[in-house]
């Protein structure tokens, strides 16, 4: 029974939680919200892709990346480049001195499309690039860092530096990247106008389906031997290494997986919001994505989705009415989550709410209930266990 529960893809309880999230995303939000708000929540859900990747890397694997915005951005830019080229037909850009190239290139006195923009004329290539470019980038970083056993804090700082470098590069190379404004004014996808309300609703559902695909992939990884090894590595990396496992390869794999999720999220962001800019790549968005995962619960993939929705909803609501309070609130949230709720919402649910509910039900008779399976998160220990220590070294 015990072993069965740990290796089965979904326990009954997890299936219920997945079902609940599906109900929220596929039914409740679309029915309750108007088209504008639904698009807003669709935007939030694109960040959830990154948060799921962070749960795998950070919560399970102990690898804290502060550069997930890089992968989000690479995926988003790959999509945006395709859409921009489609929007820049010679007819639509006839007033430019060089028609047929994106407008920001024309403003920067560039007269021909750079060679590395050419392949993005093809939708198939762009869709592959959305995943492959972030993965390739993550692979290079991962090989360079994990093979040399760099981890923990150093890894966090270097990924943050990479986020800073990419932002400066994008802003500096205005003619090739659109600079600080990013790539804007995206119109159609293979002739299908993405700006209408109807298109946005369809994109919301596409996004939701992709999100669940990523959730299932993440759940599969967690339940596989790889997932168990990741947790073992986080808690006692040396013991795993001495047992004959190639620790670096597992880390590289999970880091690349997180990057792939982030890339998909970025592409969906571009499609739903209609632009991509360096403000989504840099240090600040990258670290905000970490707090989404932390609020939801760094050990729970479903918690990460709820955390993302909640923090972003709070951000939009608060910064609409009290712009000054938002930064204070966000700062306090960082501190409170770390100090008092290290396992986030999912931890609160499984440690506080569930035991009480269970007591309530147990009191009403059916005393012989077997102890229910813990929340998907709880296969691991609290962060002040050796886990965090090991992750730090």
């Amino acid at each position: 029974m015990q072993i069965d529960r740990k290796t089965r893809f979904l326990t009954r309880e997890e299936a219920i939680y997945f079902g609940l999230l599906a109900a929220v995303i596929f039914l409740i939000l679309p029915l309750a919200l108007d088209s504008f708000r639904l698009n807003l929540f669709g935007k939030y859900l694109t960040y959830a892709f990154v948060a799921i990747g962070l749960v795998l890397c950070w919560g399970a694997g102990g690898i804290l990346s502060l550069g997930q915005g890089v992968f989000f951005g690479l995926g988003g830019y790959a999509m945006a480049m395709f859409l921009k080229l489609e929007a820049s037909t010679p007819e639509a850009t006839a007033i430019q001195s060089t028609p047929g190239i994106p407008d920001f290139m024309d403003w920067n006195q560039i007269t021909a499309l750079p060679w590395w923009w050419e392949p993005f004329n093809s939708l198939a290539f762009s869709l592959i690039a959305v995943v492959i470019v972030p993965v390739a980038f993550a692979f290079i970083i991962g090989v360079a860092m994990f093979r040399r056993r760099v981890g923990g804090v150093y890894f966090a700082i270097i990924t943050q530096a990479i986020a800073a470098i990419l932002t400066i590069l994008i802003i500096g190379q205005q003619g090739f990247t659109g600079g600080v404004n990013g790539i804007t004014d995206l119109r159609t996808l293979k002739g299908w106008d993405i700006r209408t309300d109807e298109a946005k609703e369809i994109l919301y559902f596409v996004n939701a389906v992709l999100l669940f695909a990523c959730l299932f992939a993440a759940q599969y990884v967690r339940r596989s031997k790889l997932g168990r090894l990741l947790i073992a590595m986080r808690d006692q990396e040396d013991r795993v290494r001495f047992s004959g496992y190639d620790v670096a390869s597992f880390k590289i794999f999970v880091f690349c997986l997180g990057a792939a999720f982030a890339g998909i999220g970025g592409a969906m962001f571009t499609l739903q919001v209609g632009f991509m800019s360096p403000t989504l790549v840099g240090i600040v968005p990258s670290i905000e994505m970490v707090i989404f995962a932390a609020v939801g619960g760094r050990l729970s993939i479903l918690g990460a989705v709820y955390g993302t929705l909640l923090v972003n909803w709070a951000k939009t609501t608060l910064s609409e009415s009290f712009p000054e309070l938002w930064l204070l609130g966000l700062g306090a949230l960082f501190i409170a989550v770390v100090m008092f709720f290290p396992n986030g919402l999912a931890g609160l649910w499984s440690e506080q709410v569930m035991p009480r509910l269970r007591k309530l039900f147990a009191g009403r008779g059916a005393g012989a209930r077997p102890p229910a399976a813990p929340f998907p998160a709880n296969s691991a220990s609290a962060p002040d266990s050796p886990a965090a220590k090991a992750a730090a070294e």
């Binding site: 760099v150 530096a161 590069l169 204070l328 700062g331 100090m339 730090a392 070294e393």
Partner: protein, 308 residues
């Protein structure tokens, strides 16, 4: 790249850019030294380090106004008072933060990183509410204005010289504190083996608090010096935090000398490249090279030989 410049002009360019690099170097050293103590010696990631620096800058701004209003006769020397107050203010805030936040998180460095990031957001918002979102500058006393002509093509600004002297002075002071004082001995002992240091009677908690306070205090002095060169806004600190961490990591955490050497390398490279490329490309290339070297040599330039 060098076409169109005569040999004499090239020398002058390199000398001037080298000197600009030296000023950048001094700023980096001032910022990184505090971090080298906090991160290198204590292993704490303080993402709010930039905000402690900005606190020092705002203290300087307040002191300069106080002097201008109440003691105009002594205005030329306000800067020394401001520096001392900046040290005390940032140091006191640092000790408070250590007591309230950091000491609960010593075993969870990644969580410290997130918590101090939260702290930095809160401090930024407080600065914005108190001092306004616009950048503020201070009036530099007359004797610091102007520049010294060395040859007819090369001249050096005096405020730059002052910042350099300050960086030198603080480096020496830190060296003496770390390697010649009882406190420094205790810090190094705790860094090597916390449990044993406690066992031989070192009050590790008090030393930690003092160390964190001194590190933050130095950040305050750095911020104070920073007002001599540029203006200060609520988010100025965040601009430098990545650079500063890279300087410390590149130098090899735990090595003060390494920090200074890496600050020198990074600032010189950036400043000389800046003349030939755009500012952003100079920074990108410098940072890329640093990250590249760190990937090949993760322990940094000067690695402390310690058994982990």
């Amino acid at each position: 790249m060098f076409a169109g410049y005569s040999a004499g002009e090239l020398t002058a360019i390199f000398a001037m850019q080298g000197f600009a690099g030296l000023i950048l170097f001094s700023v980096f050293v001032l910022m990184a030294l505090g971090l080298a103590i906090i991160f290198g010696q204590m292993g704490v990631i303080n993402m709010a380090h930039g905000e402690f620096m900005i606190l020092g800058a705002y203290v300087t701004y307040l002191v300069s106004h106080a002097f201008a209003d109440y003691m105009p006769a002594l205005f030329s020397f306000y800067f020394f008072v401001a520096m001392a107050l900046a040290f005390l203010a940032s140091g006191a805030l640092g000790m408070l933060v250590e007591w309230g936040l950091i000491r609960h998180l010593y075993r969870r460095p990644l969580d410290t990183l997130l918590a101090t990031w939260g702290l930095s957001l809160i401090l930024q918002q407080i600065y914005r509410s108190v001092f306004g979102a616009r950048e503020v500058g201070v009036t530099i006393p007359d004797w610091m204005m102007g520049s010294l002509p060395l040859t007819d093509m090369i001249e050096v600004p005096i405020n730059g010289l002052f910042v350099m002297a300050l960086a030198l002075g603080i480096s020496v002071a830190i060296y003496l504190l770390m390697f010649r004082s009882r406190w420094g001995q205790q810090v190094r002992a705790i860094n090597q083996n916390r449990v044993m240091a406690g066992a031989v009677g070192i009050n590790t908690e008090r030393t930690d608090r003092l160390t964190f306070g001194i590190g933050c205090g130095i950040a305050g002095v750095a911020g104070s010096a920073f007002t001599m060169i540029g203006s200060t806004g609520p988010t100025s600190g965040q601009l430098y935090i990545v650079d500063t961490f890279l300087v410390v990591v590149f130098g090899g955490a735990g090595s003060i000398l390494g920090t200074i050497a890496s600050a020198f390398t990074i600032s010189q490279a950036q400043s000389v490249l800046e003349f030939f490329l755009s500012g952003s490309m100079a920074k990108v290339i410098t940072l890329l090279v640093v990250v590249g070297i760190l990937m090949l040599r993760p322990q940094g330039l000067f690695a402390l030989k310690l058994r982990k």
